[in-house]
């Protein structure tokens, strides 16, 4: 039986146009994907490497002195952590000395607005509220607790309202 080239059992005749376009499509797709991955991954890796995974910074929880170290009715500035420990009678509070505007340390003075920023001139009242100047909010108050060995502990990651106090019964 004679089988012509068009017979179904004959090996398929290659179709150059169709085959090429499929091959082109695969190669183009692979090429684009590989190129985008190479550029994207190297760019991301470079940028990501600059974001630190470990910070060698001082702890945000700070152990200050004993309550009795801070005289009544004063605000004592602690340089290492740039904050004030404010005592009124038996009530202890901790107020950040960092201006929320652009991060300068405020100066403590006497007067109606005892905290002044030397960089851009914000004025704060004794409760840390903004009285004038560009600061978008008042000075931050931090939570104060007492440690087992009888010292004040300030948690600078924990913000509280200015009327929240640690009262220590004498």
């Amino acid at each position: 039986m004679n089988q012509g080239p068009s017979s179904p059992s004959a090996p398929p005749v290659p179709q150059p146009d169709k085959g090429d376009s499929r091959r082109d499509f695969i190669w183009l797709t692979l090429g684009w994907l590989a190129s985008l991955f190479a550029l994207g991954a190297s760019g991301f890796a470079t940028l990501r490497s600059l974001v630190p995974n470990v910070l060698y910074e001082p702890s945000r929880r700070f152990k200050a002195g004993r309550p009795a170290d801070y005289p009544d009715d004063t605000a004592t500035f602690i340089e290492e952590v740039r904050l004030f420990i404010v005592r009124k009678g038996n009530a202890y509070r901790a107020m950040s000395g960092i201006c929320p505007h652009l991060g300068c340390t405020v100066n403590a003075t006497v007067g109606r607005y005892p905290y002044l920023c030397p960089c851009h001139g914000s004025h704060f009242d004794p409760d840390g509220a903004v009285m004038s100047g560009p600061s978008p909010r008042g000075l931050t108050w931090h939570a104060v607790t007492l440690s087992k060995d009888g010292r004040l502990v300030i948690d600078m990651d924990q913000a509280v309202t200015h009327d929240k106090t640690l009262v220590i019964q004498a």
């Binding site: 600059l50 910070l55 910074e57 505007h101 300068c104 340390t105 030397p118 851009h120 001139g121 560009p134």
Partner: protein, 424 residues
């Protein structure tokens, strides 16, 4: 005694001399142009240059002076790198050593600091010059944008530079600067964290700013400078008034003037002024341009050396994270911005500078009429000139207020009052 020229001619005539210079001291205009094209350093210049471009009053030499200051900064900066370790424990001591232990260290540091101040001034004045003479008009729109990029680069380079001594100025500038970045919308806090390399200003922050200052930003600046100069050449040299008769002739015949003495690759296309050049308006760059450039370089060096010998660069007390100086003032060129941030950190530190930058970049695409190019304060450009002048005057007023009228706690003081604090 033989003259310097004779000695040079004798050397240039030897086998060694010929192998280096290829052409002797040029005697004809053709030789002068060959000298420009065949020398590595000189080939950056055109072979011939328009008389208008050579006039000092056309440019005041401000772009070239900025370039020279950048070169002085690169050389003195590398010299300073030999004596500096970017770590909070060493940086300030290194500065003291550079000033009082290293031979001529004080001069190198003074040259670096005063050149930086002068460069900020010259780049700003150069931008004003280009604006007032309409130098950004077609076909030079894109080169204006490259110039805006170089202006920003100059400011960022000086900012990252004065952080390195780790004195009070450095510490509080880096604190305020990175906090300003934190006010940028959406990505602000991430950028701040990335710049500092953490949450506080510390050793990783200093190292980051050091790498930016000595490698990344100078490399970017060199690239932009190269692009800027190359575009000046390709856009047909410096901007200058149109020469209507030649332009009309060219449009009518569709051909270039036949008396051209240089190849087609020297010409820019379109309506750029190079097309309308008449040969009699041009002179060989050697010696007219080269001589003026050398003269300007020497003048720049004289001014920088004079300042550096008689005035020492400021160095404040060692950085103290607990207490900023009162008032804490930036260098003079940022005091206008500091005055603005004293009203609002977001508007003064982020929005106004960003809007100004957008306006500068958009300017050549908004103001496209070619009238008044190459003329100072052209009458046809009254509106543009007035608007730009208002911005410049506002910047100057803010800077003057920040410099002379701000005292302790950024309060208002009169400059002659005892409590006035006027920075270096």
């Amino acid at each position: 005694m033989k003259s310097l020229k004779q000695i040079w001619l004798k050397f240039a005539g030897t086998r060694v001399g010929q192998s280096i210079f290829r052409v002797g001291l040029p005697e004809s205009n053709l030789g002068r142009m060959q000298a420009m094209v065949s020398s590595f350093l000189l080939h950056l210049h055109p072979a011939k240059v328009h008389r208008h471009s050579l006039q000092f009053s056309s440019t005041l030499g401000l772009g070239l002076i900025s370039l020279y200051l950048f070169l002085i900064l690169c050389i003195t900066g590398v010299a300073l790198m030999f004596f500096y370790v970017p770590h909070p424990d060493h940086a300030y001591d290194n500065m003291k050593d550079i000033e009082f232990v290293v031979s001529a260290g004080m001069i190198a540091r003074n040259m670096h600091r005063w050149s930086a101040h002068l460069m900020v001034l010259c780049v700003f004045l150069h931008m004003c010059r280009v604006f007032y003479t309409g130098g950004y008009k077609p076909p030079r729109e894109f080169n204006w944008i490259v110039g805006v990029g170089l202006f920003v680069m100059t400011l960022v380079l000086s900012f990252t530079g004065y952080l390195l001594p780790w004195d009070q100025l450095a510490f509080w500038a880096i604190t305020v600067g990175t906090n300003i970045a934190g006010y940028a919308p959406v990505v602000g806090k991430k950028i701040q964290f990335l710049l500092l390399g953490g949450n506080i200003v510390g050793e990783s922050s200093l190292l980051r700013f050091y790498v930016l200052h000595v490698i990344l930003l100078p490399a970017a600046a060199v690239f932009l400078i190269a692009l800027h100069l190359w575009r000046v050449r390709k856009d047909g040299g410096l901007s200058r008034p149109d020469e209507p008769d030649v332009l009309v002739q060219q449009v009518e015949t569709g051909q270039l003037a036949t008396s051209k003495t240089y190849g087609l690759m020297e010409l820019a296309r379109g309506t750029s002024p190079a097309v309308g050049l008449k040969p009699e308006d041009e002179v060989p760059a050697w010696p007219h341009l080269v001589f003026r450039e050398l003269l300007l370089f020497l003048a720049t060096m004289v001014v920088v050396m004079f300042l550096s010998v008689f005035w020492n660069a400021p160095l404040e007390a060692l950085a103290n994270p607990a207490h900023p100086p009162n008032p804490a003032k930036a260098p003079w060129y940022f005091l206008g911005l500091q005055e603005l941030t004293a009203y609002s950190a977001f508007w003064g530190g982020v929005a106004v500078p960003a809007l100004l930058l957008v306006a500068l970049v958009a300017l050549p695409y908004l103001d496209r009429k070619r009238a008044g190019v190459g003329v100072w304060f052209a009458r046809e450009r009254r509106v543009a000139v007035t608007l730009f002048t208002i911005c410049v005057v506002a910047a100057v007023i803010l800077t003057v207020i920040g410099t002379y009228f701000r005292g302790p706690n950024w309060g208002w003081v009169w400059p002659w009052a005892a409590s006035a604090v006027i920075p270096h």
